[in-house]
Every structure is written in C-alpha cells, then in structure tokens.
C-alpha cells in the first residue's frame, strides 16, 4: 500500500472524534466512491474487553472510516473543518470470525453504494491481514 494520506495526529483534521473514542488512525487511500482506513488496536483501547476489541468498537471504527472519507472530501473541497455526520442506520453487521485483539491492525474499506439527498449508504469491510473480521452496511447523514 502506498504512503498514507493522513495518519497519527493529522487524522484529526478529517474526524471530529477525539480520544478515547477516536477509532481511525490512518487514511490510506481515497477513490471517487470509497476509502481505505486503518487502526492499530492499542492495549488500552476504550473498546477493549479482556484484551479483545469488541463489536461496538468495530462498528465505531467502520463508522469513523466512512466519516474519514466524508471529511477528506470536505477538506479537498476547501471546507475549513470536517462536517459533523450522524449514523442513520447500521444493518447486516456480520462478525466473520474471532474478535481482533490488542496489537492487531485493522484495515477497513468503505464503499459508497448510493447517495440520496444528504444520506449516504456505505458498505464496510474490516480485515486483519487477509482475514475478514466484520462487515456491515451503514447510512450516514451529513
């Protein structure tokens, strides 16, 4: 994968969330209809339970991945700040296997399926390495 577009502290330009619930640390790629993001799960991650990253954390990570895509496009359109978005709906969430654990690196691809008015339907797929961890559909209102 090429050099990240945003990582570390820079990611805060794209997202309104802050520690301890900032769940994206890298934006790798952006295309016309989606983006690829990442998160390294630290041992003290807010969503860890007994060393495992839990489902709410995965969903938050996926939602913030979609927000990072929206934020990136806003910044590219000369907006001074990332817009505030709201999750309208999450459905078809599937946990494909085991939950990730501290130290794992999540790689998530979000893809725009449809845009109606100010609501965008995304699909999201999260992997660790080549293994799919989870997927879902979500609607984001901006």
């Amino acid at each position: 994968m090429d050099k990240p577009l945003y990582k570390g502290e820079e990611i805060k330009k794209l997202l309104n969330q802050r520690a301890p619930i900032l769940m994206v640390d890298t934006l790798y790629e952006v295309s016309d209809n989606g983006a690829t993001t990442g998160l390294t799960i630290e041992a003290d991650n807010f969503f860890n339970l007994d060393g495992q990253f839990t489902e709410p954390g995965l969903i938050e990570h996926m939602a913030q991945s979609a927000s990072a895509f929206v934020g990136y496009n806003a910044i590219k359109s000369n907006s001074s700040a990332a817009p505030v978005g709201y999750i309208g709906e999450i459905k078809n969430f599937k946990l494909a296997g085991r939950l990730p654990k501290a130290g794992d690196k999540l790689l998530t691809t979000v893809t725009v399926q449809s845009v109606v008015m100010n609501i965008t339907l995304f699909t999201a797929e999260t992997k660790t390495g080549d293994t799919t961890v989870a997927s879902c559909q979500m609607k984001l209102s901006v």
Partner: protein, 81 residues
C-alpha cells in the same frame, strides 16, 4: 426484457426487501405509503434498483417517481436505451 417481466421482477425484489406481499403492490399505489418508506429506507430503494437493474436514480429524478407505475416506466425507459 418485456415490460411485464420487468414489472414482476421489480415487485418481487421490492416485496422481499421491504417485507410486503407482491399482491400489496399495485401500479397506482404510492410507493412511500405501500412500502412505508422514510428518508433512510428511501436510500435502500435507490440502492436496490441500482444493484438489481443497473439503473441509477438521481436525486432530481426522485420527486417524479411517486407510484409503482412511475417506477416501472422510469426503469423500463432506461433499460430500453
């Protein structure tokens, strides 16, 4: 694709997605009422039509699609092109 074949297919995919009976779907019925669409589920309708028929509905075109007959005509016209 014949028009009646398209109508049957549209009705089947809508009935499955929005959990209604195909018998509930009449050409003159209002889509939003029959399928109980809100602003969120309207996005599902647009995505479903695009994924099933490869027909994209633009925001500006949505307001002209009120009944199922409107939707059939919209899809058929674009498939026929």
């Amino acid at each position: 694709m014949e028009k009646q074949e398209l109508i049957n297919q549209v009705n089947e995919v809508l009935a499955e997605e929005f959990e209604v009976e195909t018998s509930d779907i009449a050409p003159d019925a209002v889509i939003k009422e029959t399928l109980q669409l809100d602003s969120l589920s309207l996005v599902d309708l647009v995505a479903l039509i695009e994924s099933t028929f490869s027909v994209k509905i633009q925001n500006s075109e949505l307001s002209s699609i009120k009944t199922f007959a409107d939707l059939y005509e919209f899809i058929y016209a674009r498939i026929a092109k």
